[in-house]
Assembly symmetry: C2
Homo-oligomer: 346 residues x 2
Amino acid sequence: MAQKLSTPDTNQTDLDQRKASILEAVVAEHVDTAQPVGSTSVAQNAKLEVSPATVRSEMVTLERQGYLAQPHTSAGRVPTDKGYRYFVDHLKSGKLGTAKQQQLSDFFATVRGEVEDVLEQTSMMLTQLTNYTSVVLGGSSSNAPIVSVQLVNLDAHHQLLVTVFSDGTVLKHSVFVDFEAEHTDVAEASKQLNALLHGTTISDRVQVPSRQDDVATMVRESVAVLHAEQPTREGEQVFITGSSKVAESIDGVDNVRNVLALLEQELVVVSMIEEVLAEHVAVKIGSENQLEPLASCAVIVAPVTIEGETIGAVGLLGPTRIKYSELMATTRSVSEHLTKHFEGDR
Amino acid sequence: MAQKLSTPDTNQTDLDQRKASILEAVVAEHVDTAQPVGSTSVAQNAKLEVSPATVRSEMVTLERQGYLAQPHTSAGRVPTDKGYRYFVDHLKSGKLGTAKQQQLSDFFATVRGEVEDVLEQTSMMLTQLTNYTSVVLGGSSSNAPIVSVQLVNLDAHHQLLVTVFSDGTVLKHSVFVDFEAEHTDVAEASKQLNALLHGTTISDRVQVPSRQDDVATMVRESVAVLHAEQPTREGEQVFITGSSKVAESIDGVDNVRNVLALLEQELVVVSMIEEVLAEHVAVKIGSENQLEPLASCAVIVAPVTIEGETIGAVGLLGPTRIKYSELMATTRSVSEHLTKHFEGDR
DNA sequence: TCTTAGCACTCGGTAGAATTGACTGCTAGT
DNA sequence: ACTAGCAGTCAATTCTACCGAGTGCTAAGA
């Protein structure tokens, strides 16, 4: 940082051919070995026909420009977050191994059941496929229209409101009243609720009866409790699997602890992934993540869309030292399969 | 309170007063410091008026009997699982600090919402209170009678069966038919299902119509899919919180990984806890656990019962080096609060 | 017989010195 | 512009010596 003379490097996002190759070689080897990479192995490994000395001087430049870093003076180089970023941005989109491709196809060919189950199993399969923590997000039910509403008597003062959405989501809410509800009144309220809410979404406001009798009260209570549902969050379906992989892929006990603690807060995970989605980025590397604990992690995200609308997402969490090409391809492929799967349902 | 008085035991299960005190002192100090405990500190700490030399010779005996172990020749002693077991069995049931007592009361005074939410929040609060991983189990819905069944049309070939149980549990199942279902037929099937299943439990078999028309087919399908539900497992509600605490309380990366991996398998956790419940034991220590990965863990379990019937459980997972007295009291207290909470609902 | 003081012994942990080896940066020569 | 060669740096490793916590044993006292 002290002296920077001839090259105003802030903006140049392109490296010449040779530097790019060197950077790529460093990333490749470091991902593989988890060790700092020295000039000799780069000179051999990258098929540049130059001597280590030349590589060294290039590396000095790369380090000045912030793509590489040295753990200590006499060690090899390690890619910085910026280095990984360059690597990822200039990655020609990788292909998935046919074995894995097959495995994925098989999985999606045989999987069935409720949406939740499919999402959860997808997450598990992604974890199993990659050996990293996987997150699968299902869209919130706030947008789906209501297909059916039913008020069920549990006991005199306590009813259960069961709401079914067109996408198959079911929500339940307790409703309490301070009078003793008659069975017939509950049935009537149920009927009225159905008439009132059928076809609306949870964010639509509806006209409720203002009468003061028991039935009207129950209807009002029910609508209120349903609309109190947080449209963005509560309905979200989040499936996080393979948290234990964190322990083996991230190093440093503290790091592990922090990441695990973060993964326990579903809301945080959801908003993190949504944020990445919003930026239309596929990968967040290390410090690019806003969240402190993820400073040593890479997050890969792929959206699940139907007709241009994002209804979910597939995410993968690992260390920055990760096989980007392969894992991005895997994640993308899973999200595509999911998309197709749900399109087929329509 | 929950003392065990039976077990004649093959080995001599009783230690003389002095040995017991020494064992207790070793446990106490080791729990506190995580270090092997030497004869001198025991001699001082336990209010025995004997010299370290005497303590040493007693310790030799205790080691022969399997209550203590030496990490290496010139180190102090550490309690074995058997040692902890003796300690726990002879523990006079501890009291809960008033601060925590208050915190618990406050929590249960203010908590409300669906059963699931209460259970989950309870688990979170237990984690927060103890700094260990907590598990809360809600009983399966298999025993509760069905209050309402509804078949909802999602699209022509695809219906959703929504079942409400008297305890407020809601289950949903997809039903597929190979004809195009009429709305009126679905409504009729729904009505018949209600008549058929109302008041039964999931494990009751019912007489289904054998006719071949659409309505009867849907009824048959629905009943089949509902009864296919695993009575013991699927309905279980499991809430595991604070997995990240594993990383800070258990040592050895491998250990951490294994325990975390185990915690991800809800079924395994459930059956493990149910097993402990079945044995009417409050604590499982180290190798007493059947599960390999828990060899270095202690599990504390307390049942939640209503009218003598076990409807759930509260569990705590930590290292064997744990404050048994306090944590057993806490766990028991939480389970009692939960019991009271649900009794109040009835 | 039980207890205790004393003593020799064991062995993990730590601290320091020496060595190794994987790198680098620099320079001078092609 | 490239490269060979060289001196320098520093983490990691090994070795040594040593400390100290804690033991087991023994012999003497109650």
